[in-house]
C-alpha cells in the first residue's frame, strides 16, 4: 500500500505539473509537451491501480487501458504537431 501511495502521488504530481504548463504556457509546442506530461501522469495512476503485493499477479486490465491511452495520445499528439507545423508555414508565408 505504501509503495502504491508513493507512486500514486508521483503520478498526480506529474499530472499537476503538466496541467500547470498547459494552462500557463503560451508557445504551442511547449503546451503540447505539457499535455504529454499530463497523459504520463494519468497513465502512471492507472499502472499503480494494477499493482498487487508481489506473490499475487498484477491486474492486467489497467495495463490494457494504459496501452489504449498511449495509442490515443500518440494520434492526438500527431494531429497537434501537424497543426503547429501547418500554422508555422501559413504564418511565415503571410509575413512575406
Amino acid at each position: 500500500m505504501n509503495t502504491g501511495l508513493i507512486f500514486g502521488m508521483t503520478g498526480l504530481a506529474v499530472f499537476a505539473i503538466g496541467l500547470f504548463g498547459a494552462l500557463v504556457l503560451v508557445e504551442p509546442l511547449r503546451r503540447v509537451l505539457a499535455l504529454k506530461l499530463c497523459s504520463v501522469g494519468a497513465g502512471f495512476l492507472l499502472v499503480v491501480a494494477a499493482w498487487r503485493e508481489p506473490p499475487a499477479m498484477a491486474d492486467p486490465v489497467p495495463h490494457a487501458l494504459v496501452i489504449t491511452g498511449i495509442v490515443v495520445m500518440i494520434s492526438a499528439t500527431a494531429v497537434a504537431l501537424v497543426l503547429i507545423r501547418r500554422l508555422h508555414t501559413l504564418e511565415s508565408n503571410s509575413d512575406d
Partner: protein, 488 residues
C-alpha cells in the same frame, strides 16, 4: 418482433458509419455519394433502434459476449435513443446542406475529399458515446470525436481556422486527460469501470474526486464559462456545415456525459450543483454580452452557443442537488432544442455569407442581395433559441422555470429571464438588418438567393419550432429505462 433480433441494432449504429468513413476515405471520388448513403443508412438503423426501445424498453448488447465488468456493453435507453435520433436527423440535413457547400464549384478538392470521412468518423464517435456503458469506452469515444471535430474545424485550411483548431485540440486533449485521471481514480477505488458497478458503489472520497475531475474535463470540452475560450473562434472559423456539426452535435456529447455521470456516480453535492449553475449563469451573461459585441454573423452565432450551453447547465442545476433526479430531463430537452436550432442557424448563416459575400453584421442592411429564405430560416431558428412558443426551446425553458419555482430557487428563474432578454437583444441586431432597406443605394433584387440549398436549414429550423408540440412524448421516451437499475 422477431426482426428486431436478427440484427444487432446498437452495434450497427456504431459500425455502419465507421465502415462508411473507411470507404469514403479509400474512394474519394465517390465520397459524397458514400457519405449521404451512409448517413441515410445510419438514420434507418437508429429509427429501428428507436422502435425497438419503444417496444421493448432498454436494449443491451454484450459485444463478444464478454459481459459487464470486463467486456464492452452497448446500451440504448430512452435518453440514448433521443440523442441518437437528434444526431441522425440533424446529421442528415447538415449532410444535404453540405452537398451544396462542398460542391465542385464552391469548395476545393481537398475539402470535398476530407469532409465526408471526417464527418462519418464523427458520427461513429457520437453514436458510440451515446451507447457506451463504461467510462473508459466513453473516454475512447471522446477522443474519436475530438480528432474528427478538429479535422472539421481546420478543413478550410485558412490560418484563422488552423489557429482555432490548435486551441481546440489542446482544450480537447486536456479535457479528455482530466476525464482519464478520473477513470484512474475510479479503477483504484472500485476495480471496475462500468455503470452498473458505479451505481452499486458506496460514496467515497476517491469517487467524489473522480466525479469532480470528470465534470471539470467535460466542462472544458463543452466550453462552459470560464473554460469557453476556445469555442467561439473554432466554431466561427470552420466552414458552415462543419460549424453546424460542431455547435449542434459535438458539444452535446460532453453535456450528455455530465448528465450520465450525475445519474450513475455518487450523487453530486449541493455545492457542486450550485457551482455548475453559477458557471452556467456566468456563461449566459458573458456569452450574451460578447454576442452583442460581435462584428461578424458567425461569431455572434458561436457566442450564442456559449450562452445556450450555460442555459443547459442552469437547467440541470435548477432545483439543487435533490432536484437532479428530474432536472436532467429539462437539460436534455434544451440540448435537443439547441442541437436542432443551432445547426439550422449555422447553415443559414453560411448561406447568407455565401450569397451576400461577407458576414459583417453592420453592413448586412446595405447589401442589395437579400437571401430571403436563408434569412427566414435564421429568424425561425432564433425564435426557437430565444424560446418563443411553440418551439422546443420554449418547452425547455418552461420546464426549467417551473422546476426552479417549485423548488424555491428563484435566482435561476431570474437568470433565465435575463438570458432570454439578452438573446432577444443580440438576435435582433441581425434580424433588424435583414428588414431594413433604407440604407440601400441600389435596387433590391427580387427573390434573390432562393436555392435548393436553403431547403435543408429551413426544414431543420421549422422542425425546431414544431418539435415543441411533441415535448411531452419526447420527455416520456427519455424516461424509458431510467434509472439504470439492473440491466436486463
Amino acid at each position: 418482433m422477431t426482426d428486431f433480433l436478427t440484427i444487432d441494432w446498437p452495434t450497427a449504429a456504431v459500425f455502419v458509419p465507421l465502415a462508411g468513413a473507411i470507404l469514403a476515405f479509400a474512394w474519394p471520388r465517390q465520397a459524397a455519394a458514400l457519405g449521404i448513403g451512409t448517413v441515410l443508412l445510419t438514420g434507418l438503423v437508429v429509427a429501428v433502434l428507436v422502435l425497438q426501445v419503444l417496444a421493448e424498453g432498454a436494449v443491451v448488447t454484450r459485444l463478444g459476449n464478454w459481459g459487464a465488468p470486463l467486456g464492452i456493453d452497448l446500451r440504448a435507453d430512452g435518453l440514448s435513443v433521443v440523442l441518437l435520433a437528434m444526431t441522425a436527423g440533424v446529421g442528415l440535413f447538415v449532410s444535404l446542406g453540405a452537398l451544396d457547400s462542398f460542391s465542385p464549384a464552391r469548395a476545393s478538392e481537398r475539402m470535398r475529399r476530407y469532409f465526408w470521412p471526417l464527418w462519418l468518423l464523427l458520427l461513429t464517435g457520437l453514436n458510440g458515446a451515446y451507447l457506451s456503458t463504461d467510462v473508459f469506452n466513453l473516454y475512447v469515444m471522446l477522443e474519436v470525436i475530438a480528432l474528427a471535430a478538429v479535422g472539421l474545424t481546420v478543413l478550410s485550411g485558412r490560418v484563422d481556422a488552423v489557429r482555432a483548431g490548435h486551441e481546440y485540440m489542446c482544450a480537447s486533449i486536456l479535457g479528455a486527460l482530466l476525464f482519464l485521471l478520473g477513470v484512474g481514480f475510479i479503477y483504484l477505488d472500485l476495480g471496475r469501470l462500468d455503470f452498473v458497478g458505479l451505481m452499486a458503489a458506496e460514496p467515497s472520497p476517491a469517487l467524489i474526486a473522480a466525479l469532480a475531475l470528470m465534470v471539470a474535463g467535460m466542462a472544458l470540452k463543452t466550453a462552459l464559462f470560464p473554460l469557453h475560450v476556445w469555442l467561439p473562434q473554432a466554431h466561427a472559423n470552420a466552414t458552415a456545415p462543419a460549424s453546424a456539426l460542431l455547435s449542434g452535435l459535438v458539444v452535446k456529447v460532453s453535456l450528455y456525459i455530465v448528465l450520465r455521470l450525475a445519474q450513475y456516480m455518487v450523487p453530486p453535492s449541493e455545492l457542486m450543483v450550485t457551482l455548475i449553475g453559477a458557471m452556467g449563469a456566468g456563461a449566459i451573461l458573458w456569452g450574451s454580452i460578447q454576442a452583442l459585441r460581435a462584428e461578424r454573423l458567425k461569431l455572434l452565432v458561436a457566442w450564442s452557443t456559449v450562452a445556450q450551453i450555460g442555459l443547459i447547465f442552469v437547467a440541470f442545476a435548477r432545483s439543487g442537488a435533490a432536484g437532479t433526479a428530474e432536472s436532467w430531463k429539462t437539460a436534455a430537452l434544451l440540448m435537443l432544442a439547441h442541437g436542432v436550432a443551432k445547426a439550422a442557424m449555422f447553415l443559414a448563416a453560411g448561406r447568407i455569407k455565401d450569397e451576400v459575400g461577407h458576414d459583417r453584421i453592420r453592413d448586412l442592411d446595405r447589401s442589395p442581395i437579400r437571401p430571403t429564405l436563408a434569412q427566414f430560416t435564421f429568424a425561425a431558428a432564433a425564435i426557437s433559441l430565444i424560446g418563443l412558443p411553440p418551439s422546443l426551446g420554449f418547452a425547455g425553458k418552461w420546464l426549467l422555470m417551473e422546476g426552479a419555482m417549485e423548488g424555491g430557487y428563484w435566482h435561476w428563474v431570474a437568470v433565465t429571464m435575463a438570458g432570454t432578454l439578452l438573446s432577444v437583444a443580440y438576435f435582433s441586431r441581425v434580424l433588424v438588418s435583414f428588414l431594413r432597406f433604407d440604407r440601400l443605394r441600389a435596387p433590391v433584387g427580387e427573390h434573390q438567393g432562393w436555392a435548393l440549398a436553403d431547403a435543408a436549414p429551413l426544414t431543420l429550423a421549422l422542425s425546431a419550432l414544431a418539435l415543441g408540440l411533441l415535448a411531452a412524448p419526447i420527455l416520456t421516451v427519455m424516461g424509458i429505462g431510467y434509472p439504470f437499475g439492473g440491466a436486463p
